[in-house]
Assembly symmetry: C2
Homo-oligomer: 208 residues x 2
DNA sequence: AATAATTTAGAACAAATGTACTAAAATAAA
DNA sequence: TTTATTTTAGTACATTTGTTCTAAATTATT
């Protein structure tokens, strides 16, 4: 593995453990047993490291999204996709923990993230429409209901990790499972009766 | 107003505008046209300022909570109380924006906040029980349903401000209104039919 | 093998920041 | 009015951090 790759790897490790504020380029270099001059040769500063890690995450997310495009989506798919996304978020935990700060400090990430969100919202609208069409979700009970639902889902996605870190116990995997359950609880009132039944059977199998 | 009070006031202003990381004791002193030596005479460092402001917020919250203790709570009360709390959170916006960081950096706040949350959870459980008893909420549909609901409400409360800041437009007041709506949407599936009707009438009056 | 390019270590410097200290000024108490 | 206390301004110092630079070492190329 190249020095450049090792730098990112070590940065991710330290950022996740101690947060971006406490960790400096010198700490990272020290941990790797290289000089910080060397580190700055590859990445001029901490900001560059954060951006590089952010781009890693975004790339991995995009691969998954394009994978789903145009396909029919079931409840099982949704569940798998939720687990994939939240697991990835856990891998880049520090980004989620410091999200608002990073957004404020690094304009590139702020603008890029806002762009991504616009796109993500459209994708969700498409998925919702498809699920309504396939009788998995009920038609919109009032205008804007699914937009409001999406806000809740979106919030849960972005802030679950810092919340769980503070308030919940157990392993990361248990927290991921709880996250998936919570998202489904958000969707539950919008499930058709058939879906509710299906979902109920699914859950009673899983829980034992 | 004493210097000590003016310091807190100015700190709050600058923290809210630029975030706790960017603002230093020197900036605050400069803005107030006093020496930073003077500022450090009253509050030795930035951490002390953050703690003092945190305590201001907690005190104001506690006053409201004790106000409600032992009383019967209606939907209207809930709405009023939600608006009060979220408005207070908006006043101390910087605390909510940097929450996870502040929790990590300042042990006093971390431990104190965790204590508060235990208490807050119990209060909510009592309120839920009362609302079930008064036929406003349905009985728990499955074991842990209201605990899970409370997690969603809690998350929404703690992270609405950073979320709205990034993704929503409009004035703070509009965002506060949206917050209240979102919380009620979380509760809606647990309303009794009577409450749903009442809630519906309430909303159709408000919206015009 | 000789040369060029890349990578690395380490030093050096500037700026920012927290903290402590001193002496003057203002205020309160006697 | 005198004395004590509190408040204020300003300075000074250590530490941290980002950033740049140089020269040595390593690797790749010819």
């Amino acid at each position: 593995m190249s020095t450049k790759e090792r730098i990112l790897e070590t940065s991710l490790l330290l950022f996740n453990e101690f947060g971006t504020e406490s960790v400096t380029v010198r700490h990272i270099a020290e941990r790797m047993h290289i000089s910080h001059g060397n580190l700055c040769y590859h990445y001029p500063n901490k900001e560059a490291l954060i951006i590089a890690l952010y781009e890693q995450l975004v790339n991995q997310l995009n691969q998954k999204v394009t994978h789903y495009i145009g396909k029919e989506i079931s409840i099982i798919d949704m569940q798998a996709s939720l687990i994939f996304v939240i697991s990835l978020f856990y891998k880049y935990k520090f980004l989620m923990q410091n999200f608002t700060n990073i957004m404020r400090i690094i304009p590139y990430i702020r603008e890029h993230y806002i762009q991504i969100c616009i796109q993500r919202k459209k994708e969700f609208q498409m998925i919702h429409n498809q699920l309504i069409h396939n009788n998995i979700l009920i038609p919109e009970p009032y205008k804007g209901a699914y937009d409001a639902l999406y806000i809740r889902v979106h919030m849960m996605g972005d802030f679950w990790i810092p919340f769980a870190d503070i308030h919940l116990q157990g392993s990361d995997n248990e927290k991921i499972q709880q996250f998936v359950n919570q998202i489904f609880e958000l969707y539950f009132p919008y499930f058709t009766n058939d879906t509710k039944l299906l979902f109920h059977n699914l859950n009673s199998n899983n829980s034992i």
